[in-house]
Subunit: 349 residues, 2 copies
């Protein structure tokens, strides 16, 4: 359509137009402190304007500049929790003058590693990583990457670099305890496969509470990972909640409370229960995890454990930019605290 492929204007074009050398043009256009006469400065600026000059970032980076984009890796961008977290992170990148590359690994460690390799090849200036892979091989790999990196939300045991973790165990404990204190006795922890630290820790926290209050051995763990093999997902979606709901309905002596792995699953369970006429919270209490926007929109409103995405993003971005500015800094670690948010899905004591 437009005929011959127009070439971009370079500093050479500007140099010619303004009667200067490329060195001087570069110095003017990159606001260097190098002394250049005002006259020439103006001429160069005008020429740049006239020719609609945009620097070629590839030569800049090649020459040794740092790449002002950071890579963000999360398990699943369609999970509202991560969508919010990514959004909060992205806002801070923009504020710092960085672009961001968002990668969703779809709960697939292989894809996650692939994303990471791509980001490294792209030589992004920094990486914010929420990984579901806590294999020691992966952690070893992580140790070798030359790019500033912060691991957030889920941080694998033994990871030594910068991180801001969420206290999943405490969150699990708080959730279970909330149920216990409202008088529930038969509490089930409902989850798809326990395949990563953040899930195991939630369960451990639940066990802490169960043990502390001396509750009896009940079929306390309800796992449904039946169709896991067949799909590219780590579970944790609505359909998993539906499946778990059916499973719960099938036990002979019904639990009086369920602690769901996350909010989405909690909603799936609530809906399955409602369909069969069992009322929440009157017949069974339900508690979620994450506090996605959505938790406030369902009926009854979902009582849940809040992960503060904004705080997490704030800490993670802060330490990432600090490290980019000074890679020699010692590693730091933050933890963000869970928070109980009361709504209407747990019966009052």
């Amino acid at each position: 359509m437009t005929g011959a492929k127009r070439k971009r204007t370079t500093i050479h074009d500007i140099a010619r137009e303004a009667g200067a050398s490329t060195a001087t043009v570069s110095r003017v256009l990159s606001d260097s402190a190098y002394p250049v006469s005002d006259l020439l400065r103006r001429k160069i600026r005008k020429a740049a304007e006239k020719l609609d000059y945009r620097p070629n970032i590839f030569s800049q980076i090649l020459k040794g500049g740092i790449n002002k984009t950071i890579g963000i890796v999360v398990p699943s961008i369609t999970n509202p929790f991560y969508a919010q977290l990514v959004s909060d992170l992205e806002r801070r990148c923009i504020a710092a003058g960085f672009a961001s590359i968002i990668c969703s690994s779809y709960d697939n460690p292989r894809l996650e590693l692939n994303h990471l390799e791509i980001l490294l090849r792209q030589q992004v200036g920094g990486i914010a990583l929420c990984t579901i892979n806590d294999s020691s091989a992966f952690i070893a790999r992580l140790r070798t990457i030359p790019t500033p990196c912060v691991v957030f939300d889920q941080v694998p045991d033994g990871y030594q670099g910068d991180s801001v973790s969420f206290d999943f165990r405490k969150g699990g404990y708080m959730a279970a305890r909330r149920l216990i204190e409202s008088g529930c006795k038969r509490i089930v922890f409902a989850t798809p496969a326990i395949d990563r630290a953040s899930r195991r820790l939630r369960y451990l926290g639940y066990r802490d509470a169960i043990g502390e209050y001396g509750l009896s051995p009940f079929p306390e763990l309800m796992i449904d990972a039946a169709d896991k093999a067949g799909r590219e997902s780590g579970g944790g979606e609505y359909r998993d909640g539906l499946a778990l709901g059916r499973k719960i309905l099938a036990v002979r002596r019904r639990p009086d409370a369920v602690m769901a792995l996350n909010d989405i699953i909690a909603v799936g369970i609530m809906n399955t229960l409602a369909e069969r006429g069992v009322r929440v919270p009157d017949d069974v209490s339900v508690i979620g995890f994450d506090d996605i926007n959505f938790a406030a929109m369902v009926t009854p409103g979902l009582t849940t454990i809040r992960q503060d995405t904004d705080r997490t993003a704030d800490l993670a971005a802060g330490m990432l930019f600090a490290r980019i500015a000074n890679p020699a800094l010692p590693a730091v670690h933050f933890a963000v605290e869970p928070q109980l948010v009361e709504r209407a899905s747990v019966r009052v004591a």
Copy 2:
């Protein structure tokens, strides 16, 4: 910590290690058809492996290669509809060997333009754009960008390039008609500000149906954009639904149906109604738009107009990659059709 900053290995290192020239190394490593002896080939491959070589994409691109990343711009990544659309697009990029940069403009035209400039500076190989800006100045700007670009979902009037649009007017018509045919007479269209084509068209479709069935002039349009100025959002969120719900409850002769701008707003309205004891669909029918995952999770299940994100992504990605492969192609345009999905929020006739 790690002491001196280790330099990346380059083809020069490999050349030295394997006793070859950089030219040969480049040819081997980029799988060129150029004849190189098997012996040397092997030596170079082994050296590359040993030194953990990764090509520097910046020099590759600088040298004239194309940048295998595409930029995706959407109004809001936290909107589940766009999250899904982005996810569907991203999957196709990966399949085509492209990375993707996802940018959320938060319903802010200034930020959107800024994102676009960044993508151009990054010289991404292609851009997939869902814009909320249909000013003629913006369309003119769009015409001048040198990068392959496809506009999807919302395409502004007068945009000439590749696009895959959604038939919002027809969608609006289908929604309103569904309500009318179930016997509703006083149907209100509930929306935050009508500030972009996709919203205006929905309203127009609604009017089409209203007119066609000769319905009476009722306070048919319910706008709540009160606090718009104060926030970085174009409206369309849950709180907008709540506000609209309150407004609807306040009218003297209550509507018997509401057509919401989108699913999230529909849920907000349903919840507000439920809180005051008005039942959906018995007292008032509610219909949404988009068919986000969420629409199936609320009670009653939300009847809505489906925008097929997967189909949209498929078309958009297809035409984008086609254009990248051959920029001289004439522009093409596709439209994806709305689809009514029945659930339980509209009363049966």
